[in-house]
Amino acid sequence: MADIYRLFIGLIAVLCAASLVAGILTWRSSKPASSTLVNLNARIRAWWVMVAAISLAFVFGRSGVIILFMLVSFAALREYVTLTHTRRSDHWVLIGMFLIVIPLQYYLVWTNWYGLYSIFIPVYCFLAMPALAALWGDTSRFLERISEQQWGLMLSVYCISHVPALVTLEIPGNEGRGLLLIAFLIATVQGSDVLQYIFGKLFGRNRISPNVSPSKTWEGLIGGIATASLLGSSLFWLTPFSPLEAGVLAGIACIMGFLGGLVASAIKRDRGVKDWGHMIEGHGGMLDRTDSLIFAAPVFFHIVRYAWT
């Protein structure tokens, strides 16, 4: 697993560089520092913590990654449900989502039961949750409540669980390197978020959808996705792909990631909040940090599963 060390040494080097640049900017700026700079420093500090958490999970291998993403799902679903319209009669369905659906979905991923974990939430939970709500007898805002519950599970549990599921793919010639595939996906998608942020801050002019998100610009999107694809291509040695394939896959994942961020912004705008939560300083909540991964993971998973296994 020498490759994994190379990746993490690279990551630490990038973070050190980022901390250094931000430190110099803060030192040279007028006091007090601008809010952008304060936020940048908070974001970089949070990245140190997130990289540490992921490294720790990788030390424990497949189980570590599954437990990490189970916790991510828990935090994401909690943020999501907080913003939905729950009623007292939803209480047991909601508890079931947290105490049964999350552990079961990740258990199924752990046992590599693809036939069930790929349909457990979209089929069985989809049918069971409205049935339970109907049995309970509260019809007020029925369609709204059950749709929001189903959406929450799909986003926060189903889609996120496809990240650790990558480790279970049996790609010929790639045995024992499933964790590296996860590292590849996270590095490119999160890298794309950072690069879109940087390009948007430096060159952003034309907004893509001012109603949804004032900070997403065409300049940020194109610059971010182009450079993130190059980043993906340069990380091909982590994967079973050729440099070109890695670049294309990274590009697709980053475009999905952008769409995920856009959808998350639309939900937040609808609910009148700026961030999903306050868990990760400078970034907002867990969903603010994982919205791109949510959209990218299932698509990336299925392309790789279809074309490489």
């Binding site: 828990f74 935090a75 679903l77 909690r78 943020e79 449900v81 907080t82 913003l83 319209h85 729950t86 007292r88 209480h91 909601l94 508890i95 947290f98 609808d270 609910r271 009148g272 909040v273 939560g277 306050h278 868990m279």
Partner: protein
């Protein structure tokens, strides 16, 4: 044992609700205080206490209804031994001890109180019920104690009345600026102002809390 139970409960409350205190109108301090808050769930005072610093939490006790918490043995052990609540009898006809005396005794022992001026859990659609007079009586009797309004957000969704398992949802406790009885202010006026001070802390975003 009690401080351990307190620390465990506070940790549990944080793990489930990710609660953060928002010190909007005041800061944590060593002043003796009465934290008065909206009330819709048994989790309310645990959530509020978990937002206080450990030393302040250790000397802060919640005021609760004796008729409810003494009605069976499990509740009695929880309220008296585990949670160290100040139990007062709410029913004016049958009571043997004046609630005000019990609360004043706790204050005179140097303790801070968590107090729910609505007198009961709010099960209505209204955000806040009418305040009972207890808050005014306390404020007049001990003018040196700070009255801090605290808006508890979402706890009624985490643990609604009659449920014993909580749903994990994000909660916040918003602490406002302390208020006091002004010279010449009568009971009705003060209670109205106190209620308004608490309502003013309620966030107005249209998403959470329905």
């Amino acid at each position: 044992m009690q401080s351990l139970a307190g620390a465990c409960l506070a940790g549990l409350a944080r793990a489930i609700t990710g609660v953060i205190p928002i010190w909007l109108g005041t800061k944590p301090s060593r002043n003796q205080r009465i934290y008065f808050a909206n009330h819709a769930s048994h989790g309310d005072f645990i959530l509020l206490a978990s937002c206080l610093e450990p030393e302040e939490r250790a000397r802060t006790r919640a005021v609760a209804g004796a008729d409810y918490w003494r009605s069976n043995r499990i509740r009695r052990v929880m309220a008296e031994d585990l949670l160290r609540t100040v139990l007062v009898e709410r029913n004016g006809v049958e009571r043997t001890q004046d609630p005000l005396d019990i609360m004043l005794k706790a204050l005179d022992d140097g303790q801070s109180l968590i107090f729910f001026p609505e007198g009961t859990r709010n099960m209505s659609e209204e955000p806040l019920l009418r305040f009972r007079s207890g808050l005014y009586n306390l404020a007049v009797a001990r003018p040196g104690v700070e009255l801090v309004p605290c808006w508890i957000e979402n706890m009624s969704r985490v643990l609604p009345k009659g449920m014993f398992l909580p749903v994990p949802l994000l909660c916040r406790v918003i602490f406002g600026a302390p208020i006091a009885v002004e010279p010449g202010e009568d009971r009705t006026l003060f209670l109205h102002r106190a209620r308004q001070a608490l309502l003013d802390l309620k966030p107005t975003n249209n998403g959470a809390g329905r």
